[in-house]
Every structure is written in structure tokens, then in C-alpha cells.
């Protein structure tokens, strides 16, 4: 009887143990075994730094039992998303398989102050029973401080290299230039004023005046025209005497000079286009007008140079 009692007790304890195991097995949640972790690398960053934000999904059991949707983009305040990455890791502990899905986000701060990463959801479906569930991250706040300007390291090697190269080029240029200078005759920049140029041509015309007075007068006409064109940008050939007088007055020429220039122009036109024979007096008058104009211009140039 005692043996039977002990046997019954043993049987019932075994049965009880089996029932307890069954009860433990039934405790697996109906949405599987998934949890979420999220964290930021720093709680304060300078404005010119990058913040790393990590979200991990830790899944225990058979990975095929879970259909995980791609996570939504985190809602940000005072931060700007600059990059993302994603990775999976499988671990085994105590005979269980654990899959870690890791999402990394990189942000840059927009301005100095507080920045926030608001919670966002990851949705998954537990395939065996079709239940779906949302997992949410926590809210993070990060302090954004003034940007830190990092001093660049001076690349002395590069600087020395550039200086050396420049020195070599300079020496080569100096040697070439000095060689060229030795071979070439000395070149001097000579600036000839319109007055000097006109005087030189005037002398040439005067020397030939006795041989051909008409040609000399035509030469003087061209000389006056070119001088006034160069000096005052006035095209005598396209305006009448009244317009010429008006334009010269605007350029600041005194009335006496204008009168002589206009009179000479009139005389020249008469000789050139009215068939009037040229006389010695005509030549002298036109020369005098040109001389008056040149003297005035030279005097004005001197005054301007003195100032």
C-alpha cells in the first residue's frame, strides 16, 4: 500500500511538472519576442559636428516568424539628416538565437540651442498568428553648442616645396631676362603727345610748301582735322562751322582760338571745294590758326601737369 502510495505521488509529481512546462510554453506573447532599443552617441555636440543616432531591434526565436517593415524617417527638430546605414547581427546565447537589426542615422545640427529626435515607430507582423505591433523609440534631446574651429595642421613640407619651386622659377626667369637684355638693344617707351606729333608733321609740310603750295594746304587741312579728331574727338568733315565752334566751346577752348580755327576751316573749304587758288597768305593764315591751337593745347597740358 505504501509502495502504491509512493508510486502515485511520483506519477502525480511528474504529471504536475509536465503541466507546468506546458503552462511556461504558453507564456510566449502573441506578438512574438521583439524589443527595441534606441540611443544617441552624445547628449551635446558642437554645431559643426555630426550626431549618431542608433535604433536596434532585438528579435529572439525564428527570424522567419517576423515580417518587419522599414522604419519611418525620424521627425527632427533643429537637426538635419545627412546619412543612414543598416546592418544585421546574429548571436546565440543559452541555446537561443538572437537577431539584432541595427539602424543608424547621422544628423548635423542646424543652429545653436536644443535639438530633438522625436519618437518614431517600427511596425512588424508576427507571422504565426498574423498579429501586428508597433515599436516606438524614445525621445532624445541634444544640446547644440557653438562650432569648434579646429586649427589645421601646417603642412610645412608642402610650403617649403612651393617656396623652393618658386625660387627656382624666379632664378630661371632672371637669368633668361638678363641674357635677353644683353642681346636686345635697349627699348624705351616713348610717348608722343598729339601736339608733338602735329608739330613734327607741320614742319615737314612747311618745308615742302614752296614746291607745291596746294598740296601743302591740303596737308595742313588733314593735319588740323586729325589733331582735332585725336584731341577732342570732333570730326570736322561731318559738321559745319557753326557746329564746330559750338563743340570747341564745349571743350573749353577760348573764343579767339575758336574763331581762328573756324576761319581756317572756312578758308580750307573754299580752297578745296570752291576752286579758289591757294595763295601764300592762305597758307600763312592756316598755319597761324594751327599754331594758335597748338600753343593753347600745350599751355593747358602744362597747367594740368603742374596741378
Amino acid at each position: 500500500m505504501l509502495v502504491l502510495t509512493i508510486f502515485l505521488i511520483l506519477i502525480s509529481s511528474l504529471v504536475a511538472e509536465t503541466t507546468q512546462d506546458t503552462i511556461i510554453a504558453e507564456k510566449v506573447p502573441e506578438w512574438g519576442n521583439v524589443r527595441i532599443e534606441s540611443f544617441v552617441a552624445q547628449d551635446s555636440i558642437p554645431q559643426n559636428d555630426t550626431l549618431k543616432f542608433t535604433v536596434r531591434l532585438i528579435i529572439e526565436g525564428n527570424i522567419d516568424d517576423y515580417a518587419i517593415a522599414d522604419p519611418s524617417t525620424p521627425k527632427l527638430s533643429n537637426l538635419e539628416l545627412v546619412g543612414t546605414s543598416q546592418g544585421n547581427l546574429t548571436e546565440s546565447s543559452d541555446g537561443k538565437t538572437v537577431l539584432i537589426k541595427e539602424y543608424e542615422y547621422y544628423f548635423t545640427p542646424v543652429s545653436v540651442g536644443m535639438a530633438y529626435i522625436n519618437p518614431f515607430r517600427i511596425n512588424y507582423v508576427f507571422v504565426p498568428n498574423g498579429n501586428d505591433r508597433n515599436l516606438s523609440t524614445t525621445r532624445f534631446e541634444v544640446k547644440v553648442s557653438e562650432a569648434i574651429i579646429q586649427e589645421k595642421e601646417t603642412n610645412w613640407g608642402l610650403i617649403i616645396g612651393i617656396v623652393l619651386l618658386a625660387s627656382i622659377i624666379l632664378v630661371v626667369v632672371i637669368i633668361l631676362f638678363s641674357k635677353k637684355k644683353r642681346t636686345d638693344p635697349e627699348v624705351k617707351e616713348i610717348v608722343i603727345s598729339p601736339e608733338e606729333k602735329t608739330r613734327k608733321l607741320q614742319k615737314e609740310i612747311e618745308q615742302k610748301a614752296n614746291q607745291d603750295p596746294i598740296k601743302a594746304i591740303e596737308g595742313l587741312s588733314k593735319l588740323i582735322n586729325s589733331f582735332i579728331k585725336e584731341k577732342y574727338d570732333i570730326d570736322i568733315a561731318s559738321i559745319n562751322n557753326e557746329e564746330l565752334a559750338e563743340m570747341l566751346a564745349k571743350k573749353g577752348l577760348p573764343g579767339s582760338v575758336i574763331k581762328q580755327v573756324c576761319s581756317a576751316n572756312n578758308q580750307l573749304n573754299s580752297i578745296k571745294f570752291a576752286g579758289t587758288p591757294a595763295s601764300e597768305d592762305d597758307f600763312q593764315n592756316i598755319t597761324l590758326a594751327l599754331e594758335t591751337l597748338l600753343v593753347f593745347c600745350e599751355k593747358k597740358n602744362k597747367e594740368e601737369n603742374n596741378e
Binding site: A237, S238, F273
Partner: protein, 329 residues
């Protein structure tokens, strides 16, 4: 100065006295528009016809009618419309029932100064009738030919805008105008004077200060104004440069000109140069006289190509280039 030119200068001085009077009288009515008035006088003195182009309201008609008022001459204004007939212009034969015969009813063209207003609004047959009369200076009605009175001057206007329903003048007929004058807007100060002068009920009027004889005598003097060979060469160079620009170093405008100026342009440049010298009280022509009138004499005679039109290059720009390139004597 040689004796002949001196004598001529004295004649010009005598015969051109009325020019200042004309200018003074015109200035009583027209404010500014010196350029337009000078060109009207040039046309009158050079015995040519003028085509005036400008937007409405620029005193084109007023300038012409004032000029007619100043000259003791008959003036007729003809408004060209699409329904105008040649007979409305030159006249026709009318049957006289009481005498049982036809008599000639002369049209408005039998006047000294004709203002053909908006010439491009009339059809080609009317334009042709007018332009033929301009050229021949006589009109044939039925079997009889009638000489037009002297002086005879046609001043035609056309509007550069509102081209719808117009009949553009053919190039060959436009060539018959001595000058094509572009009338521009007055300056601000001039317009201020215009509104002051014409802002009351009694518009100003001009007096008759010139007779037909004055005009005819001035025309005779103008014909005698000396034109040197250098000036003739310059005129020819300008005209030939419109035909062969490449010869004058203007290769780039060679393809922009479809037709250059005609020999009539050379003749007109010469006579206008003489008239311009007359206005300047001078017995000989200078290059400046030619350059002053060259644009108005040549602009309607240089026909640009489609390429030039596509590039919006006008005949004026081409003439400006030619004036800049051809050597002035």
C-alpha cells in the same frame, strides 16, 4: 576766293533772304521740328518731292500746310483712302448736257503744293497715278495732256504703325521721292512750348512771305552753285558703296544689301548738296553738305536683304556704316 564764287555768294545772299523769313514765320506756328522744316525747304529748293514718315500727331500736316501758307501758292490736301480712284486725284472728263460736250474737270493734283496724306492707304493704281504725275510733272486726261503748275511739290506722309490694310509703296516708286524724312517726337521743352502755343482757341497763323518767283529764282541760283570734282567723286563713292560695299572695306555689309542706290540717288545727292549749300548761304558744296542730306536721300533707296531684316539691321545703319567708311575729301 575766286571771282565767280564771290559773285555767286552775293547772288545767294540776295536770293536766300526769304529763307530766314520763312523760318521765322514757320516758327510762329511750329515749335521745334527744325530738321523737318529744313528738309521741306530743301525739297522745295531742289525741286523734289518728299516722303514723310512719322507717327500721328507730330505736326507733319501742320508743317506742310504752314509752308503752303507762307508761300503764295495753291495748296491741296488729299487724304488717301482705299476707295480713292485715280480720277479723284488727277481729274476726269465730265459731260456738259447743255452744250452736249465733255469738258475736263481737273483734280486736286493741279496745285503747287500737294499733301498726300497717308499715301500707303490708297491702292496701287492711285499711287501710280500720283507718282507718275510727280515724275512727268504733267497729267493726261483722256487725250489731253496738262502741265502741272510750277512750283510743284508733293509731300506724302505715311504712318509707320497700323500697317493693316495698307498698300506699301513699291521700291521703284519710292525712288521717285527726293528724300524720305523720318519725323521724330519733339524734345520735352519743345513740347512744353507746343502746349502753351496751341493751348488756346485761336491757333497761330503764318503770313505769306514768299512768292513763286522767289522759289523759281532760288532754284536757278542753286543750279549754279559750284560742285567740285572732289565732291562729285565723294557722291559717287557713297552711292557705289551701297552697290559694292566690299570695294570700300565693308565686306561685312555686302550680304545685307539687296539693291543699292540708283543713279537717281547720285543726282539727288548732288542737287540736295547744292540746296544745302544755298541754305548755308555758300556758293560751293562741301562734303559736310553731302553728309547732312545723305541719310534722307539714301535711306529709301538702299534695300536690305531678308538676312538683314532678320537681324533687324536697317538701311539707316548700313548708310551710317558707309558714311563712316568712305573717305571724306
Amino acid at each position: 576766293m575766286n571771282e565767280e564764287i564771290e559773285k555767286l555768294n552775293k547772288r545767294i545772299e540776295e536770293e536766300s533772304k526769304f529763307i530766314e523769313e520763312v523760318r521765322n514765320e514757320i516758327s510762329k506756328v511750329i515749335v521745334g521740328q527744325k530738321y523737318l522744316i529744313d528738309r521741306l525747304l530743301l525739297g522745295l529748293l531742289a525741286n523734289g518731292h518728299i516722303l514723310l514718315e512719322g507717327v500721328p500727331g507730330l505736326a507733319k500736316t501742320l508743317a506742310v500746310s504752314t509752308l503752303a501758307d507762307i508761300i503764295d501758292a495753291d495748296f491741296q490736301r488729299i487724304q488717301f483712302t482705299p476707295d480713292l480712284l485715280p480720277a479723284d486725284l488727277i481729274g476726269t472728263l465730265v459731260y456738259n448736257q447743255s452744250e452736249s460736250s465733255f469738258f475736263t474737270k481737273k483734280g486736286p493734283i493741279f496745285a503747287n503744293i500737294i499733301l498726300a496724306d497717308e499715301i500707303n492707304r490708297a491702292p496701287a493704281k492711285v499711287q501710280s497715278a500720283l507718282l507718275e504725275a510727280m515724275q512727268e510733272r504733267q497729267v493726261t486726261i483722256s487725250e489731253n495732256s496738262f502741265k502741272l503748275p510750277e512750283p510743284f511739290m508733293v509731300l506724302a506722309t505715311q504712318n509707320p504703325i497700323e500697317q493693316q490694310g495698307t498698300y506699301p509703296l513699291p521700291e521703284a516708286q519710292v525712288d521717285r521721292f527726293l528724300m524720305k524724312v523720318i519725323v521724330n517726337y519733339p524734345k520735352k521743352e519743345e513740347e512744353r512750348d507746343i502746349i502753351r502755343l496751341h493751348g488756346h482757341f485761336d491757333p497761330p497763323t503764318a503770313n505769306k512771305v514768299v512768292t513763286k518767283e522767289n522759289i523759281n529764282r532760288a532754284r536757278q541760283v542753286i543750279r549754279d552753285i559750284y560742285v567740285d570734282d572732289k565732291i562729285d567723286t565723294y557722291i559717287l563713292d557713297l552711292v557705289f558703296a551701297t552697290r559694292n560695299p566690299a570695294h570700300y572695306g565693308l565686306d561685312d555689309i555686302d550680304e545685307l544689301i539687296s539693291y543699292g542706290a540708283s543713279p537717281r540717288a547720285s543726282l539727288n545727292l548732288r542737287v540736295c548738296g547744292q540746296a544745302q549749300a544755298f541754305l548755308n548761304h555758300r556758293g560751293y558744296v562741301t562734303p559736310e553738305d553731302i553728309r547732312t542730306i545723305a541719310m534722307d536721300v539714301l535711306r529709301h533707296r538702299v534695300i536690305v536683304t531678308y538676312e538683314a531684316e532678320a537681324e533687324e539691321i536697317t538701311s539707316e545703319e548700313i548708310i551710317r556704316r558707309i558714311l563712316g567708311a568712305v573717305e571724306v575729301p
